[in-house]
Amino acid sequence: MLSTKDIKHLAKISDLKLTDSEVDMYCKQLGEVLDYIKILDSIDTKNVQPTFHVGNSTNRFQSKENYEKETLSNELALKNAKKKDGGYIVGKSMLKG
């Protein structure tokens, strides 16, 4: 079971701002999903290796032909920025005080 404190903590580390009613709603909904996931506890995975990739590739590296092919002009790089100035992308400062 999750508490509202847990939800607030999760929201904080996920960089999400929630209203109080959202906190309550998600508390219930997430709790149900986590309950459902409990089915995994009953499965014996002793000596089983995890699968992190299904592709079976290994050692994939940048290819020489691709160097600088996808590089964007300054104009394109800044195209969607809410605020820009002198070629820079501008955001709100996260420094405290």
């Binding site: 580390i13 960089d15 992190f52 990739h53 592709g55 590739s57 290994t58 050692n59 994939r60 590296f61 940048q62 290819s63 691709n66 160097y67 600088e68 092919k69 996808e70 590089t71 964007l72 002009s73 300054n74 790089a77 800044l78 605020k83 100035d85 002198g86 070629g87 820079y88 992308i89 501008v90 955001g91 709100k92 400062s93 996260m94 420094l95």
Partner: protein
């Protein structure tokens, strides 16, 4: 430093690799010299939806060569993971790094400090990507993503340092090795090297690590490091003496005020929620490939220094200078090939500023010319000796009365008259003879 407590210091060094392209994309790796901001970006390093990381093989090789060179053990498996947190200079909302299956694990390095040979152990060496460059202006942050995605090598030591000086000497050696191996310029002023320090104090004699650790981040000069660490040591010692409990935290250094201050406490600590990056297949290296990398490393600075001291019979401090400068070392070796003794060759190259711009061949020519111009015949020297004896009665008397030191003075006077051309070994014996008559 007070005798009751000792410093427990670990260092983390970040160096930007000097590859042509970034760590996970094909953009140019040249943030320091870029003419404008945001001209070396792409969907990957700009963190656009749909961008995908593809590792730079040269960066991996440089990282492996470096790790082997400093004495860390190369891993056969390297797994890139995502370190998740939110900050304006981190375009994907996560940094790709390899904390659990790094490039090199463990190992140790010996280095000279304060005339002694010290050993420091590595925890790990891993490869990751740099963040963008941000500058603050009017409550806003100006971001340049040219630096985002640049390959970064992170060298993490165990807390084996017991003095600030030894940590500085270690960092300088790392810089030297990085440059020698052509892996990085490791220049703090250009932003391609930064340091972090993990500091705690414990009572002398205690074996266990203290249960807290203060992190000092973004150290970008040795001056900064010394001042900040000195302050921290005093602060921590005073607190411990008072019986206070010190917390795990990150502190910043205020240069103007000369104090450290809390930046982030344990409660604020991020939960990075690491997991293997699904976009990047695991890197596996066969024993053969690892051996190939080891073989490609060449001589380490420490090996060259030892060789110079042992074979050339030059002082350790001269060896340090020569190993720190490829051009100087090369010139010394050329001079030796042309017939000079190693000791004389290194002395000339290091100490004689008048020969700085001359090639080895030119230097040898000059020396030969000087030699041929030396006044070494008895009749020639006698003229000068006579004049000096005549004009320095008191000194001559002093010498005859047993003051050996005046011999040097009188030699100097002859040298002056001959404009330095008197052959020293001939002069000294002739002068002694004349003075005793």
């Amino acid at each position: 430093m007070n005798n009751e407590y000792e410093l427990v210091l670990g260092i983390e060094i970040h160096i930007q690799l000097n590859t042509k392209h970034k760590m996970f994309c094909g953009c140019k790796n040249d943030p320091f010299y870029a003419k404008n901001p945001n001209i070396y970006t792409c969907p990957v390093c700009l963190g656009l939806p749909g961008g995908l990381p593809v590792p730079n093989e040269t960066a991996v090789e440089k990282a492996q060569r470096f790790s082997f060179a400093v004495g860390s053990n190369l891993n056969n498996t390297v797994i890139f993971e995502r370190k998740n947190y939110n900050y304006p200079d981190l375009p994907k909302g996560y940094q790709i790094t390899c904390p659990h299956y790094p490039i090199g694990t463990g190992g140790e390095m010996k280095f000279q400090s304060g005339g002694k040979e010290l050993t420091v152990r590595f925890r790990e060496i891993h490869l990751e990507e740099d963040t963008a460059k941000s500058s603050h202006k009017n409550g806003e942050v100006y971001i340049d993503f040219n630096k985002s995605g640049v390959p970064l090598l992170e060298i993490v030591t165990e807390p084996d340092f017991r003095s600030i000086e030894s940590a500085v000497d270690f960092c300088k050696e790392i810089q030297l090795i990085a440059r020698k191996l052509n892996v990085s310029n490791a220049d703090m002023e250009k932003g391609n090297m930064r340091l972090e320090a993990n500091i705690s104090m414990r009572k002398k004699g205690e074996k266990d690590l203290p249960n807290y650790r203060v992190e000092l981040k973004n150290i970008n000069s040795y001056g900064f490091m010394k001042k900040a660490l000195e302050y921290e040591i005093i602060r921590q010692r005073k607190a411990l003496e008072k019986g206070l409990v010190l917390e795990q935290e990150t502190r910043g250094y205020d240069e103007a005020k000369g104090v450290t201050f809390t930046q982030r406490s344990k409660e604020d600590a991020q939960d990075y929620r690491y997991f293997p990056d699904p976009d990047i297949p695991v890197l596996t290296f066969s024993e053969e490939r690892i051996k190939g990398i080891q073989d490609s490393v060449g001589e380490l600075p420490s090996t060259v220094r030892k060789r110079l001291v042992d074979n050339y019979n030059i002082s350790y401090s001269n060896a340090v200078i020569l190993v720190g400068d490829d051009a100087l070392l090369k010139k010394v070796e050329e001079l030796i090939a042309l017939g000079l003794s190693p000791k004389k060759a290194s002395n000339i190259v290091i100490n004689k500023s008048e020969y700085r711009k001359k090639s080895a061949k030119e230097i040898v020519e000059i020396l030969n010319k000087e030699k041929s111009e030396k006044i070494s015949s008895v009749e020639d020297l006698d003229k000068f000796i006579e004049e000096v004896i005549l004009n320095n009665e008191k000194a001559v008397l002093d010498y005859k009365n047993g003051n050996e030191a005046t011999l040097q003075f009188l030699m100097g006077q002859v040298m002056k008259l001959t404009k330095g051309k008197a052959e020293p070994s001939v002069l000294i014996s002739l002068l002694k003879t004349r003075l005793s008559s």
